[in-house]
Symmetry: C2
Subunit: 306 residues, 2 copies
């Protein structure tokens, strides 16, 4: 077990040696490459440096609001060259899980989505029928008739066999009521991820785990199966796709309990923590629970390894 | 400790004896007198019977969406005579706590409300300044500018010293974001109650505890101080107002972990569980944790004690 993390900022030789240990770098995005719309200094150059050294780069994100194509576009618009195949999002992970692993009865194939278009796009790509999500008819207050219609089942789709929760900017009481009733009727409870907060504008906003929290509370604490970091279902899917030696792979992220844990539990050769997101310094891992292999103040500090 | 509950339905003598033990009956409302708009059979007659025997009746409700005046109106419209003073709601309990017990700095007196008009009315009655709540300008999706404005504090009111969560039919991502940032800036975290579900239309919908759940998750599990059942702050306030012998008082409710626990922890002479709400039968208390003194299928069964 690693108990001490190596501080690499300003240590050129240390950085070069660290980079040389790996063929593959898995990147968390929000809080590592950027925060909201703000690209961190040195992100582009660092990625260029790694690519110039022949490293495989994979963008692994728990942000469920964007599809892989959306993410590629975001990366490109920020000056980071990327292909759709290099992007691995929690919505894609969830769509793969539902379509290829979950054995749903033939009359229970529909997914009720609590989340944004990114989830819908990935479900559509896997030909998984879906309702809810961005359906504008659900963007309203609950009405008197809704209570009776939900209670009687009139407004419930009997083919729903899964409730999938992601980050939902359109979260409301009506959608939570519908999701809860599908779960009560036996739907499988899935989440793209369970991050409780979302880093944005250099602070935190509600994350997917905050959006599913009302349902967890209503179910007496029953947690959804998460298809995002640190769930190893996601790591297995990434490895299955990219076919790499885990000992020669490094996870880079800003969160101990998702990114770093994800890399450690996945048996990767290394993990690197950056301080541009949730984690604020080594005091955050001095309890020894989840300790990264190394850390830098910001991703761009790796440029010194050129 | 009571380990066995007495079943009173159909037991005329048992009912008469049970009623004779008490001077005061505290009633939970939703799930006991009615569910949503549906008044249970025998409710009116049972209350008449108790009044005819000279019993003090108090309507104790965790439903924060209605003020005491709203509740009196609901009771009256359903044929149940009642006065405002007989109604004791969690919004009133919270307003009393904020205005008379909580010592807020003079520049931190404002309450950010996540909830409905019932809370606002009771806060206004206690002259507590408030924002949020039913403010229509917050009934919208979060916008791009909101992230920056919340992060910088521009859209935050510096006088907010309390976040008070109740049942909020207008719950949305923007309001949760604002509430979270007030809490991060040191606001006291209060809840009218923490019931995770609300009985309505003979089933369950999200309760106040589901509305505060995203914030609890974002705060890493930190719970709000609850001013509703089973918090004894509410029992103390009820006793202070009605001046009764707790041994001669009985709590009637449908929930073990709010109503019945409320009566037991409050040292009341008895508790009565009805099966018209959350609790479905004696299997629910056979773990011995929270056992009522007695139970009936429905409140109206007490009519046999006439």
């Amino acid at each position: 077990m690693v108990t001490q993390a190596e501080y690499l900022t300003g240590n050129k030789e240390g950085i070069e040696e660290f980079i040389s240990r790996f063929d593959v770098f898995l990147f968390d995005c929000d809080g590592v490459l950027w925060s909201g719309e703000h690209l961190f200094e040195g992100t582009v150059e660092t990625l260029e440096l790694l690519r110039s050294k022949g490293k495989q780069v994979v963008f692994v994100t728990n942000n469920s609001t964007k599809s892989r194509a959306d993410y590629k576009q975001k990366l490109t618009s920020m000056g980071i060259p990327a292909t759709v195949d290099e992007v691995f999002g929690s919505s894609y992970s969830a769509a793969i899980y539902i379509s290829r692993i979950l054995q749903l009865p033939s009359n229970k194939k529909t997914v009720f989505v609590l989340g944004e278009a990114g989830i819908e796009t990935e479900l559509d790509g896997e030909k998984v029928p879906r309702i809810g999500g961005t359906d504008p008819s659900l963007n309203r207050l609950i009405g008197k008739d809704d209570y009776a219609d939900i209670a009687s089942g009139t407004s419930l789709d009997p083919s729903v066999g899964v409730v999938l929760c992601g980050l939902d900017f359109h979260l409301n009481y009506l959608k939570l009521s519908l999701a809860f009733h599908y779960l009560r009727h036996g739907a499988v409870f899935l989440a793209t991820n369970i991050d409780t907060t979302l880093p944005s504008s250099s602070t935190l906003f509600p994350g997917a785990g905050a959006c599913s929290a009302p349902l967890v509370a209503m179910l007496g604490g029953k947690q959804p199966t998460s298809l995002g970091k640190p769930s190893q279902a996601m790591m297995d899917a990434i490895e299955g796709k990219f076919q790499f030696d885990r000992q020669r792979a490094c996870m880079i992220g800003d969160r101990l309990d998702t990114d770093i844990q994800f890399g450690i539990e996945g048996g990767l050769g290394g993990t690197l923590c950056v301080l541009t997101g949730v984690t604020k310094g080594k005091q955050d891992w001095e309890d020894g629970k989840i300790v990264p292999t190394a850390w830098v103040d910001k991703l761009g500090d790796l440029r010194e390894g050129a």
